[in-house]
Symmetry: C2
Subunit: 132 residues, 2 copies
């Protein structure tokens, strides 16, 4: 049975369930940063998924990527599945811009998150839920 890893639950807000993935918003107001978690028990690596689930995954990554690009006008989308700390398979999809705190390096492990104001977070979640 799929259960969200407690570290992911603690660091994010729920956005929506897409066909394969639970979509989460990282609670870091400095970025527009989604985390896609396939609702498949015990998946750790991308190659643990079936071919059909991988097709869903790449389409949901593309949907998040295109949505973030359109909503934010970001210079670049970054996508990553690391899992060195939290083994449960999860894919980060986030908007990057010149001059953001970690630019041009990766965001992972860069610096402590800055929590959202509730109203800003909720407004952005609504934009993602309603996108396309």
């Amino acid at each position: 049975m799929f259960e969200l890893h407690p570290r992911l639950a603690a660091d994010t807000a729920y956005v929506v369930d897409w066909p394969l993935c639970r979509v989460l918003l990282m609670n870091d107001a400095r970025y527009r940063w989604l985390v896609l978690v396939p609702r498949i028990a015990d998946a750790i690596e991308i190659h643990d998924l079936s071919v059909s689930d991988r097709r869903l995954l790449i389409e949901e990554i593309a949907r998040a990527s295109e949505g973030l690009k359109r909503l934010t006008g970001a210079k670049k989308i970054n996508t990553g599945a690391l899992g060195n700390v939290v083994p449960q398979l999860h894919v980060h999809v986030l908007a990057r811009n010149e001059g953001d705190p970690a630019w041009p390096g990766p965001v992972w492990g860069h610096s402590p998150a800055v929590a959202y104001e509730d109203s800003t977070r909720d407004a952005f979640i609504a934009q993602i839920v309603n996108a396309r």
Copy 2:
């Protein structure tokens, strides 16, 4: 027409062409680190690819991931498409282990590469070419 970005060409060795991607080996002997570059002109974001090319991409990511896991016995595979410095769409797929130089953080931007000995590099390339 597809042309490999000069920075990717400088930092890697050619491994093989799979149906969608040129497979490259990052010239950093501290990791077993592949870079998959879709041979599609002007692709920058994953959502720039067609649905059929995205299906190929995720299968080639899974193939690289599973091959690295089997060949190296690594604790974790890391996958990332950043492109903040080199815009041409390219996907890193690499093997990570506790105690490697960047562990548990990301490898990108962490520290200067350590070039392979030719013989070590060529032996690993042969393993990837012949895997599965």
